[in-house]
């Protein structure tokens, strides 16, 4: 177990800056997930921590030791790759033994460590097979086993479940969560899948364009996104965004005129730097509104997606704005019918013109 600290990390490829000054403190035994869209720099940041990429500037500290000039093997890290990266000509046993042999560990210790990792991952029966004789899930398990045997200070996972099918992904996700509980190690996990991020992380780091957009627990990010990017990225289906104009503002209360819902009253906390007439964006999660009978501002159902336990409706307002809402499955909806929507009180998010969120009441933080 170790702490990890990133200080003003920057990385450029030629004239293109891909990591733009990232700061992060990771506590001992914490599971941190880097999440963000393709090309946001999350894998590059992981490779920088691993020592597979140099930094342009900034310092990486592992257990209070600056690691910038250390080779990957000297950093006490182990990494699990998206492509598994198993040595195809070696057996599972040899794959797991490779790093220990290189560090000249006694044969008996190597054997003990491999048997222990195999027991933890329930793959004792696979040790003499070669990678091509394994299924995708088994290969990923071996890749994790290869990391475990090294007893690293920090585990690094680079989108480890992306190549697996949906069902296997869920079971491997649980396995990684179990592993984290069992080993108690510090782990950094990269994914573009926000469900993986929400379910695994102690804290999530949301990255976009090489910058950290927000760091927080999954529920902090869900209930209190710091900006419109995080609000849109966390949560599935994504949050609906509606344009609005500030009508009136009083202490802790904002009245916003929208074309979809008419006037909306939003309760906020802290000081709000906004004036009457300013453009704002209202955020509303699909699960945060109730479907009612069509009223003065009807919405037309344009798409119905039945998921079994719930139904997703895509509805279009008379002004052409499209919203996605979650409806209970009890009622059948059909494209073309009109419905009304009522946002749940206290569920609205407000963002200023630059995309920054206004603070909401903290009651919902889990």
């Amino acid at each position: 177990m170790a702490t990890l600290k990133l200080e003003e990390i920057r990385k450029s490829f030629g004239s293109i800056e891909v990591i733009k000054g990232v700061d992060l403190d990771v506590d001992e035994g914490e599971l941190i997930v880097f999440v963000g869209p393709s090309g946001c720099g999350k894998s590059t940041l992981l490779r920088i921590i691993a020592g597979l990429e140099d930094t342009t500037s900034g310092t990486i500290w592992i257990d209070s030791e600056a690691c910038n000039d250390k080779a990957p093997k000297e950093r006490g890290i182990a990494m699990v790759f998206q492509s598994y990266a198993l040595y195809p000509h070696k057996t599972v046993y040899q794959n797991m033994a490779f790093s220990l042999k290189l560090s000249r560990r006694p044969k008996q210790e190597i054997d003990e460590r491999i048997r222990e990792a195999a027991r933890i991952l329930q793959m004792e029966h696979l040790l003499q097979r070669r990678p091509h004789q394994l299924s995708g899930g088994q290969r990923q398990r071996v890749a994790i086993g290869r990391a475990i045997v090294r007893h690293p200070k920090v585990f690094l996972f680079d989108e480890p479940l992306s190549n697996l099918d949906a069902a296997l992904r869920v079971s491997m996700r649980r396995e990684i969560a179990r592993l984290h509980t069992e080993l108690g190690s510090t782990m950094i996990y990269v994914t573009h899948d926000q469900i993986e991020a929400m379910t695994l992380a102690d804290r999530i780091v949301v990255l976009d364009g090489g910058e950290v957009k927000q760091v927080g627990t999954p529920m902090e990010l869900y209930h209190h996104p710091a900006n419109i990017f995080v609000a849109g990225f966390i949560g599935s289906p994504r949050m609906n965004f509606i344009n609005g104009r500030v009508e009136t503002m009083a202490e802790g209360r904002l009245s916003v005129e929208t074309r979809v819902f008419g006037r909306l009253n939003v309760g906020l906390v802290g000081s709000v730097t906004v004036s009457t007439g300013d453009q704002v964006t209202i955020g509303l999660r699909p699960e945060d509104c109730e479907i009612v009978d069509a009223d003065a501002l009807p919405l037309t159902v344009s798409l119905v997606e039945r998921l079994g336990d719930e139904t997703l409706l895509e509805v279009t307002s008379t002004s052409g704005e499209v919203l996605v809402v979650k409806a209970p499955p009890i009622r059948e909806y059909r494209p073309g019918e009109t419905v009304g929507l009522m946002p749940r009180p206290g569920a609205l998010h407000v963002f200023d013109e630059s995309g920054r969120a206004f603070a909401r009441a903290k009651a919902q933080v889990g």
Binding site: A50, L52, I77, F81, L86, L102
Partner: protein, 283 residues
Amino acid sequence: MTSAVFRGRQRTGDVLILLAIIGIAVAAAFPLVWMVLSSLKTPAESMQTPPVWIPATPNLAAYGEVADVIDARRSFLNSFIIATTTTAGILVTSLMAGYAFAKYRFRGRDALFAIMIATMFLPPIVTLIPLYRLVTSLGLGASLFGVIAPHLANAFGIFLMRQFVAGVPDDLIDAARVDGASELRIVFSVVAPAVVPAIAALALFAFVYHWNTYLWPLTVLQGSTDDYPIVLSLGRLLSYNRGAVNTGLVMAGATLAVLPPLVLFVFLQRFFVDSIVSAGVKG
């Protein structure tokens, strides 16, 4: 077109292709077969017109005579030293340089690679004299090492390896780095096993080429017959008997000389077939 007609035309096409393949195979094998048959003929049968195809009583006398005329054991040993050392050198340098060209990012990499490729298009005869002068000025003239040294690295080998190593996933190399492997260890323990078919192909090309090479050893060895490889010693079989060519003797020598590369080919052919089959399975 009905499927029956289509099948019929396809069948005719297949037969024509098969006939062409047989024709080419016969043409390619003919000199080899003729060489072996001639080595088993008596001197009289060798000189007969029209030629005798199959010897009446095949005999191995010519093979025994080869050993009387040249020191065949020594010549084979020289050939073996030249071909194996050069091949080993080419494999090591090609793999290392190919890895660097394929996986390292460094300034001037592409220009350097282009210059190296350009050397592949120089006819060997152009470099013969400068190379000879270089080797003799280093004091390596008339020695086996002089024959071997300039050929320990080879542009074609580096090119071939670069192409294959480029196909080795970067993740595999990064995994080895995280596991604590040095760059040399990565080349020989991780990259090399992943490009075995290319190594086999290069080994075969290099071995056959340097087993058969004639002009360069002839130039460097400067008549030092003790160091002659078998190909140069065959020349001595030709000039034996003061110009009266003993065909059976020469053919027996040639048959012996061709055996090692042939055996190597039979052995390494498996790797080519394997690589083709696995490529097909992976799609």
